[in-house]
Symmetry: C2
Amino acid sequence: MDFNDKQKQIIETAEQLFADRGFEGTSVRDIAEEAGINVAMISYYFGSKEKLLEALFSYRAGDTVQQLEGMIHHKVLAPLEKINLMIDFYINKFQRQQCFFKIMMREQVASQHGVTSGLIQHFKKRNQQLVKQLIQEGQKTGEFSKNIDVPVLMATLIGTTGHLMATQHFYREINHLQEMPDEQFQKLIKKKLSVHLKFLFKAILTHEI
Amino acid sequence: MDFNDKQKQIIETAEQLFADRGFEGTSVRDIAEEAGINVAMISYYFGSKEKLLEALFSYRAGDTVQQLEGMIHHKVLAPLEKINLMIDFYINKFQRQQCFFKIMMREQVASQHGVTSGLIQHFKKRNQQLVKQLIQEGQKTGEFSKNIDVPVLMATLIGTTGHLMATQHFYREINHLQEMPDEQFQKLIKKKLSVHLKFLFKAILTHEI
DNA sequence: AATTTAATCAAACAATTGTTTAATTATTTT
DNA sequence: AAAATAATTAAACAATTGTTTGATTAAATT
């Protein structure tokens, strides 16, 4: 999907508010006011509030899997190095699109009747298949252990990253980092997560440390 | 807080609906209808919808930390065994109170202005202090490594558990377990998480496998 | 048995919700 | 320059929101 500037402006405003207050907690008038446009423009451009959420998803979730595929397949690396690449890719994606992932987290918690659950399901499936392939590569060469539960492993990657990102205010407070500029703090948390998750994945995948 | 039977009935109905549709996505009339009571009873007993959410939190979050403290301090165990106890305690708690934890997950994602964020913050702080103590015990005896980042470690426990629980329908589908009775499936997922997380914690804490 | 307190209810309340309308202004195309 | 399309607007729409009211019934207390 391609959106014009005004549409992007609405989508991005909605994204921020949805992340902060939830989909149901945000009114179309909130969005319109924050974006500096008339309420009717939302229906005019997207049809409805629900379809605006769908538009947001196709705007963001777009070709994430393809990016990941491209990045990994076009490099000649050891299986574990590819896994590490994937870990950093995920952390970066999460960090650059924090608002969107907050919305995704919420939608995943909800019952599976919403307009987004199908999109998320599809996205997750393709992604897990890719990771499964990566792991099978490593198992063929004998570098990786057998009996790896991919969904559980991915739950660790996504769950840990998502939780720490969502509760970063708490992480700041407990470590007395309230005064640190956000840019610096994001770098810190990214590095922390990267080292931590790579360590965990190596332990699980190779049974070595 | 102690609630009478009718109050509990309302709280537990609200809990299910909040978990499924979110706080904003659930109307007081939904709750009243589902609980088989009059709408006015909610204001009558709790004052407001927001205060009903607060009541739910004090109803559930109650003495979780004390339970955990009691369970751990009153046993003579090696540090790692205490950690394992804590892991299983968390998984069990999460599994027995899935609706409540879904609500907590959502509330944590939201901006920090809600009525619950203070309660969650306080609960998390006390809990992390307890875990910190546990880890320091192990560090004194030399069983645990130095430089353990407790919040990151707890993000792995809570994040992984929460994510897998929230997306269990997906886990069922990808493993072709749609037909498995829920009781059996819950046991399976509990065991999976328990083994997985204990392995990860041991790797991080002892640098051994 | 009389009185007080608690519980329950349908109805009304004002505010807010997402969406549509019909008119007006900008922009593009002919 | 005229015509046609797109963008924008304030106002209205009906539906739903959380909450309150005032009356009625049930339970507890005296």
